[in-house]
Amino acid sequence: MRALAATATLIALAAPARAQEPDYFANQTPTPLTYRIEGERTGTQKIWLASLAGGAMLAGGLGLYYNLESRDIADEVGTEAGAGPALVYTPEIDERRRTGESYAMRARVLYGLGGALVIATAVYFVWTSPDDRVIAYGSDDDRPDVTIAPVRGGAVIGAGWSF
């Protein structure tokens, strides 16, 4: 957060008393000047967010790859009951079947992992969402710190704000 302090200095000189003048602003209600500063995540939070989202995409992509591979193998060696025998069940077909089962399992695990990472990304996104800061000038809460220091021939008046 950026902080800036400003100091205004006035030198009050002894002035001759003047005649009473009308105060045109005495009856006006002061309206504070407000503006909003959008919050920003830290670099570490951004890295975590990118890692979680990237991990989710990677897991989902790999899961989709294994899903499609397992589907191809299922189409290749899978059969529906009642279709009638077509081929001899060989060790090669069995190996393909086991590969298909393995790919299907990998797809499930990766989908699960990807889903968990999506949820984690969303939770982390909300959790680390920075609050916007509202700064109001002129309100009672935002009165500047005023300091007065006597100097030779008068005084130095200082005011400090932060925003």
């Binding site: 989902g60 899961g63 989709l64 294994y66 899903n67 397992s70 589907r71 193998i73 299922a74 189409d75 290749e76 060696v77 899978g78 059969t79 529906e80 009951a81 009642g82 279709a83 009638g84 025998p85 077509a86 081929l87 001899v88 069940y89 060989t90 060790p91 077909i93 069995d94 393909r96 079947r97 298909g100 089962e101 790919y103 299907a104 399992m105 797809a107 499930r108 989908y111 699960g112 990807g114 889903g115 999506v118 949820i119 969303a122």
Partner: protein, 199 residues
């Protein structure tokens, strides 16, 4: 959040595992079948365990027994030229069984008169050996593997093809040493085609 969970669940369910239905594959060597299925020795297909019984020779396949000796072998007689009959069905209920079949070959006219013999038996059960023997029992020819690829029959094929001198012959079918499930499936049934094409 719930929508994301539903998408994840749907994708997880979409992962495809190969499903193999009962009766959709012929048994492999030694009755090899997918998990949760077992080899039905009668149909030599992979079926749900408990849905079939023990091996039994097909009806009528043992009608020629006893046919273990040359003298007692059934005969086809002289093969007519261009002979192309329906297949004979046989059975080897145990490893000691020998099936013999006698026939005679006479001279035929034609571009390529020859014997064309095919023996087919399930891949899943004990392997058979096929031999063409003469009247004395001496081996003239032996069956050579001729199973087509891809094999849509579920059977191994052994073939003997070629011209032979005129005379009387026997086909001898015996169980071999392989494919008997370590002795647990030392039986089988077979189809035998004896043809005598001339072209």
């Amino acid at each position: 959040m719930r929508a994301a969970g539903a998408v994840v669940a749907a994708l997880a369910l979409a992962a495809c595992e190969p499903e193999i239905g009962a009766g959709t594959y012929y048994c492999g060597e030694d009755g090899f079948c997918p998990p949760d299925l077992a080899c039905n020795p009668d149909t030599f297909t992979c079926e749900t365990p408990g849905s079939f019984g023990e091996f039994d020779c097909p009806s009528g396949s043992e009608a020629d027994e006893p046919d273990d000796e040359l003298a007692s072998a059934p005969t086809l007689g002289a093969l007519p030229c261009g002979y192309n009959p329906i297949p004979r069905e046989g059975c080897v209920p145990d490893g000691d069984d020998v099936d013999l079949l006698q026939f005679e070959v006479a001279a035929c006219t034609g571009a390529n008169p020859r014997l064309d013999i095919t023996l087919m038996f399930p891949v899943a059960l004990v392997e058979l050996e096929l031999a063409l023997v003469d009247d004395t029992g001496a081996i003239v020819r032996t069956g050579e593997p001729c199973t087509p690829e891809p094999n849509f029959t579920g059977r191994r094929w052994l073939c003997i093809e070629g011209a032979v001198p005129d005379g009387a012959y026997h086909l001898r079918i015996t169980a071999g040493d392989d494919g008997d499930c370590d002795g647990a499936c030392r039986y089988t049934h077979y189809l035998l085609f004896v043809r005598y094409p001339t072209a």
